[in-house]
Symmetry: C2
């Protein structure tokens, strides 16, 4: 174990020379994050044991533990007692619709919704999409429309905007061949792990397109849900606008 003051930067020095000081366990977190970004450990796989990581980074097991604790709280890693620590994955059935807050009015939390692709084409980023994705207006993007069915009924319509640079090769064929969640597709085919998202919700009246898709009257109040999804380093990689029918479903949100 090296002396703390010799590692990376001593806490004392950092505190004095820089306002971006961070404790050792946060630096370790950064190193683990780096390894994850580089693809050293893939979603669903085990990462090395705490002891091994402690040796690798020349810190105590307790410090590695605290770093992993934080990352587990952020849903980046998953601890499994007796087995090891795993890279979180949207392919895990329990994480599959992690960001979907819509639930049926009557129970049925057990049944997963089904994603039906409608169409998919290439385009150039407009003003709004560019701002949401943090790219230049005019940058090539892929636009994808899909529907979400609960128990066979269309409840959600989504229009999804993706930077073409990251999602090169995504097309209808690939979408139709995939019968699971979109994020698990993104993870599996493009190595993209979604860490967090932010939604902006409004009430709107159904326009003709939405009314036809969700089989409701034109003008029916619907939830408009705009979502920006972020990968490592808080980089936005997806923007979507959705319309939710809330006749038999509601958006459930826990406030803490």
């Amino acid at each position: 174990m090296v002396d703390v003051t010799e590692f990376l930067c001593s806490t004392t020095q950092m505190a004095q020379i820089s306002p971006t000081f961070s404790p050792l366990y946060r630096q370790i977190r950064g190193l683990i994050l780096q390894a994850l970004e580089s693809g050293e450990w893939r979603p669903g796989q085990v990462i090395p044991s705490e002891q091994e990581l402690a040796a690798r980074f020349s810190v105590s097991q307790g410090t590695v533990r605290k770093a992993i604790d934080e990352m587990a709280a952020d849903n980046i890693l998953v601890r499994r007692q007796g087995r090891g620590t795993y890279v979180a994955s949207h392919t895990d059935p329990r994480q599959m619709f992690r960001f979907l807050r819509l639930v049926p009015e009557e129970g049925e939390l057990l049944t997963h919704p089904k994603s039906i692709p409608i169409d998919c084409w290439r385009a150039k980023a407009g003003h709004e999409a560019a701002r949401a994705l943090g790219i230049e207006t005019g940058t090539p993007i892929i636009i994808l429309r899909r529907m979400l069915q609960f128990s066979g009924k269309p409840i959600v319509g989504d229009e999804i905007y993706l930077p073409e640079e990251i999602f090169r090769g995504l097309d209808m064929e690939m979408l139709q061949a995939w019968n699971s969640s979109l994020y698990s597709l993104f993870e599996t085919r493009f190595g993209l792990r979604m860490i967090r998202a932010q939604e902006r919700i409004r009430a709107i009246a159904a326009d003709r397109a939405a009314a036809e898709l969700l089989r409701v009257e034109e003008g029916t109040p619907l939830l408009s849900v705009e979502r920006v999804t972020y990968t490592y380093g808080d980089k936005p990689v997806e923007w979507r606008r959705g319309v939710y029918s809330t006749a038999d479903h509601y958006y459930l949100n826990d406030l803490t």
Copy 2:
């Protein structure tokens, strides 16, 4: 420091005899929670130092620390380096509208909304209210209507259902004399600390009452936000139904 196996229940014994086993730090958390419920330390006040609590409960400081860590993550306690650990309070300006997710379309996150009481009366719990509050139908309750103004404009209308037993004495006079958030009033006058809440969100069309209150056309799509708020022990103590105008505001939600 007593031997762990002599404290409350040994982990080994508990694991064998009971499925409700919990580690020491979680039992300590329970004891601290008990002290909070009993009113031993009030919102905004300092609680004893980690060392003192460790001595009081005959465990190590590290174990107390872990208990407090959890409670700080749950917004029950607030740590302040160099000063001590405080009981979280809705009277704190930063916590005042902790559960309100509605934000203006254009910046202005700095300005707080203003709560305007409309009326307040006693009634008996209907079926819905009783179910939400976990009480018998017919139990005396207080119903309170109020409006929330952003920059002077009416944006939210709330109908709030409160068990009369807990909120005895709440009336228009008290409401009008209070020019801060409702939860800070509840905390100050009724000793009720709100820990968490759950919201169910739907899109609805404005009925006449909502339209008049929020000064929109009848039929305008609005957010319907139902909230149940819980105090210690996950006891529901408030049910509210709100309508939000989302023409110039939106409901912001972080997904993790």
